[in-house]
Subunit: 414 residues, 2 copies
C-alpha cells in the first residue's frame, strides 16, 4: 500500500511553524508497512488543494490530509472536499451532540460557527473526534482512500489512533517493511562507505541502505521490503553480524537509542559511576548524559572549568604545565580526568580541553583541536582530535567522541 | 516571485527525521518577499525527482531543492539533475581544489568518492560550499531558477546565506518586507496575548503580528508589508516603544539574539564574572552560556551537582537541610549559589535544583517543581517555579528562566 500526506496551512509555508504532523503520521504508517511516497504542504487555497487531490487520487492507495478544518473563515478544507466529491453538506446529529456536550462541559456558549462544524459532506464516513470539535472525514474514490483530519497535533493523533489506524487494519493486508538502523560513531561518512564497500555490494536486492550523518555520528539504515520478508529478521541479523565483524568498535546501538543512553546502559550494568571535567565542551557532555531519565543513578556530576584557575584550583592541574604547554594538551586532560575522579569519588571520568572557535586558534593548534581523556580503574586513555565545522559542531563532535571513547575503554575495544 | 521547496530523503518519508530545512528556507525566502507556494518531500528516487521537476519547472519562478548530494551510493540527486537537463558531468577544478584543501586541513586522505564530488553537470552555475565537500548547483530553464543544495543543515544554511540569497538579490526586484522580532521571557503565550490586547488592536493595517512560542520564550514577530514601507523604521520604533512600556522587564532582545547572548552582553558591559551550580538543569545552563563565542571572558564555569554528596562536599550545602527538606528547596539553591561564588570566586552566580521527571515527583513536589537562585553583590533572589511538559522542556524552561532572572537582578527589574 502506498500513501501520500498533504499538510494544509499558510503558517508552514511562511516558515512560522515546523510541520511535525507529517513526520508523526509517516512513523505510524511505516510501522504498519504502509510506505509514504510523498509529503506535500499547500496553502489554505481551494484551487491548490484541488490540484493536489487531482494529482494524488487514483495514484496512491491512501492520502492523509491535515489542516483547514477549524471554525474560522480561513478554514476551507471541508467545503473544498465537498465540492471535489460533488457532495452536499449534511448535519451529522452524532457530531452535533458531541459538540454541544463539549461546550456545556467547558461552560462556554456555542456559536453558529461551532454548530456548523457538525456538518460534513454526505459521501464521507465521519470519524468522531474525541479530542476536539472538528470531525475527521473518510472518502473513497478511484481506488484511493482519502482521510481528512484537523491540524491540531493532539486532535490529529487521537483520530489516527482511535479511528484511522483501526479502519486501515480492517481493510487492507499490510505488506511487511522492516527498518533497522545501526548507529556508529568515530568514522566519517565517506570512510565508512569505503570500509563497507564489499558488505554493501553483497546486500540482497530487497534491502536498501542509507547513510544518515549527524555531527560525529553516522546512522546506517537498512530497509527490507516485502519480497523477502518471510525471513526478514534472519536476513537483518546476518547483515548486522557481518557489520559487527568489520567495525565492532564503532557500533554503539540500534534504532532510536542515543549514544548517551548506550553509555548509561553500560555504566548501569557494571554498577559504575561517572563524572566529567569539561573545558571546551562547556557542559554539553553533562547535559547529554543528564538528558537520560534516571542518569543520576550513575552520573555524579561535572566540573565545567572554563577558566584555567578552576582547572588548577578545583581539579588540581599543575599550573606550570598550563604555563608551559597551554590548556590544550595531553597532560592537562589527563590531570583533569584524574582530578575530577578524586574530587567526585567516581569509578570513571571524561575530560575535554580544546579550541571550539571561532577565535583562539593558532598555527600549531588550529580551531577544532581537542584533547580528550577517559579513565577507568587504572586505565587512562588520552587522544588528540581535530574536528571541523563551526563552534557548535566542534562541541557536539567532541562530546560524542568522548562518550564513545569511554564506552570503548569499558568494552576494551581500544 | 513564487517559489517551491523540494526536500529529497527517504529518512523523512519514513518518519525518522523531521524536515527542518524547508521551514528555515521558507523563513529566508519570505524575509525577502519571495512567497513559498508549495513544499514537497520525495524519495531518493530518480523517477520521482524527475516527475516533481516536471511539475514545478515553468510553473514556479524559483525551485529550491535539498538533499541527495552526499558521497555515498544512495545519493542520486546530481546524476538525476544531469540527466534531466541533458547535461554531461564535468570536473570543476575550483571545487576539487577546495575539497583537496579540506581533506589536507583535517589531516585525512581523500577518497575517490570525495574527488567525484567535484564533478557537476556542465550546464549549471556552481555554488561553492565553504562548509562541506558537496557543491551547490544553480540551473535556469523555462523561466525557472532551480537551486540544488546538500541536505546537511549547516552546509545548506551556509550556501543559502553565502551564495543563493546574494544571487537572488542581484537578479530580482524584491518587494520591501520588514520583519522585526521582539524576544520575551517569562510570560506564557496566552497571558501575553491578554496583556497585549489593546496594543495589538491599535496595530496599523500594514503590520502583521505573530506569536512564536518556544519553551520559556515567546517571540513576537512584526511584519511590515510594502504599502507603508517608506516610514517602516519609524512605525516599528513606535510600536516597540509602546511594548517596552507595557512589559519592560520581560523583553530581553530583538531578532536573532539568544537569551544567553543577551546576558553575556550585559556581563561584559559591567565587567562581571559568572559561575553556575546546576542540579536539575544538568549542564544545560553551562552549555547555553558557552555556546556564545568569547564567553570565557565572563564565564568561569560550573559545578554540576547531580548527586547530593557533591552539593554538600563541593558547594558547602548543609547536609541536615537536605535530610530535612530534600534537595529541592529554597535553602539548598541559596547555599548552592553562595557555594559556587565562593569556590569559583565570581561576582554573580546561578543555581538550580528541581525535579525534571519523568520520575521523582511527589504530591508535595510534582515533576516540574524547580527552585532557582541568582546572586549578585549582596543581592540573593530565589524563587520556586512549576514547569510543565516532558524532561527536555522542563530543563530548557528552567535554564531560560534562570538566565533571565540574573538579567533582571542585574538590571534591577525584579
Amino acid at each position: 500500500m502506498r500513501s501520500a500526506i498533504i499538510t494544509i496551512g499558510d503558517e508552514i509555508l511562511i516558515g512560522q511553524v515546523t510541520d511535525t504532523n507529517a513526520v508523526w503520521i509517516s512513523q505510524q504508517l511505516n510501522a504498519y508497512g504502509i510506505q509514504v511516497g510523498e509529503m506535500v504542504t499547500v496553502s489554505d487555497d481551494a484551487g491548490q488543494i484541488t490540484n493536489t487531490l487531482d494529482r494524488y487520487m487514483g495514484h496512491f492507495d491512501l492520502v492523509i490530509m491535515t489542516g483547514g478544518l477549524g471554525p474560522t473563515s480561513d478554514d476551507i478544507t471541508k467545503q473544498t472536499l465537498a465540492d471535489y466529491f460533488n457532495s452536499k453538506m449534511v448535519m451529522q446529529p452524532e457530531v452535533l451532540e458531541k459538540i454541544t456536550a463539549y461546550f456545556k462541559e467547558v461552560g462556554r456558549s456555542m456559536l453558529e460557527v461551532n454548530r456548523l462544524q457538525a456538518e460534513v459532506p454526505e459521501d464521507c464516513m465521519v470519524l468522531i473526534n474525541d479530542h476536539g470539535t472538528a470531525p475527521g472525514m473518510w472518502f473513497e474514490k478511484e481506488g484511493t482512500i482519502l482521510v481528512s483530519m484537523p491540524g491540531v497535533p493532539y486532535e490529529m493523533k487521537g483520530l489516527m489512533e482511535d479511528r484511522v489506524i483501526p479502519e486501515l487494519v480492517k481493510r487492507i493486508e499490510m505488506p511487511l517493511v522492516v527498518h533497522k538502523t545501526i548507529l556508529t560513531q568515530g568514522v566519517p561518512e565517506s570512510y565508512l562507505a569505503a570500509m563497507l564497500r564489499d558488505w554493501e555490494k553483497d546486500l540482497p536486492d530487497c534491502v536498501k541502505l542509507a547513510y544518515l550523518p549527524r555531527p560525529g555520528i553516522v546512522r546506517l539504515r537498512l530497509t527490507l521490503v516485502d519480497n523477502c520478508a518471510s525471513d526478514a529478521d534472519q536476513i537483518l541479523e546476518k547483515l548486522i553480524g557481518k557489520l559487527l565483524k568489520i567495525m565492532p568498535e564503532h557500533i554503539f546501538g540500534y534504532d532510536d537509542m542515543s549514544l548517551e543512553e548506550s553509555l548509561g546502559v553500560l555504566l548501569r550494568e557494571r554498577g559504575l559511576s561517572l563524572a566529567s571535567a569539561e573545558s571546551c565542551t562547556g557542559g554539553t557532555i553533562a547535559s547529554m548524559i543528564t538528558s537520560v531519565p534516571g542518569s543520576s543513578d550513575y552520573y555524579t556530576g561535572s566540573v565545567i572549568a572554563y577558566n584555567n584557575r578552576i582547572k588548577t584550583e578545583i581539579l588540581g592541574v599543575d599550573p606550570s604545565i598550563i604555563e608551559e604547554k597551554g590548556a590544550v594538551c595531553r597532560e592537562v586532560v589527563e590531570q583533569m580526568a584524574r582530578g575530577i575522579r578524586a574530587a567526585y569519588g567516581t569509578d570513571t571520568s571524561i575530560a575535554t580541553s580544546g579550541i571550539a572557535g571561532p577565535g583562539g586558534g593558532s598555527e600549531e593548534k588550529p580551531v577544532g583541536t581537542t584533547w580528550i581523556c577517559v579513565q577507568y580503574g587504572d586505565r587512562s586513555f588520552a587522544r588528540k582530535y581535530r574536528f571541523s565545522g563551526n563552534r557548535e559542531r566542534v562541541i557536539i563532535q567532541a562530546s560524542n567522541t568522548a562518550l564513545q571513547l569511554l564506552r570503548r575503554v569499558l568494552l576494551n575495544t581500544i
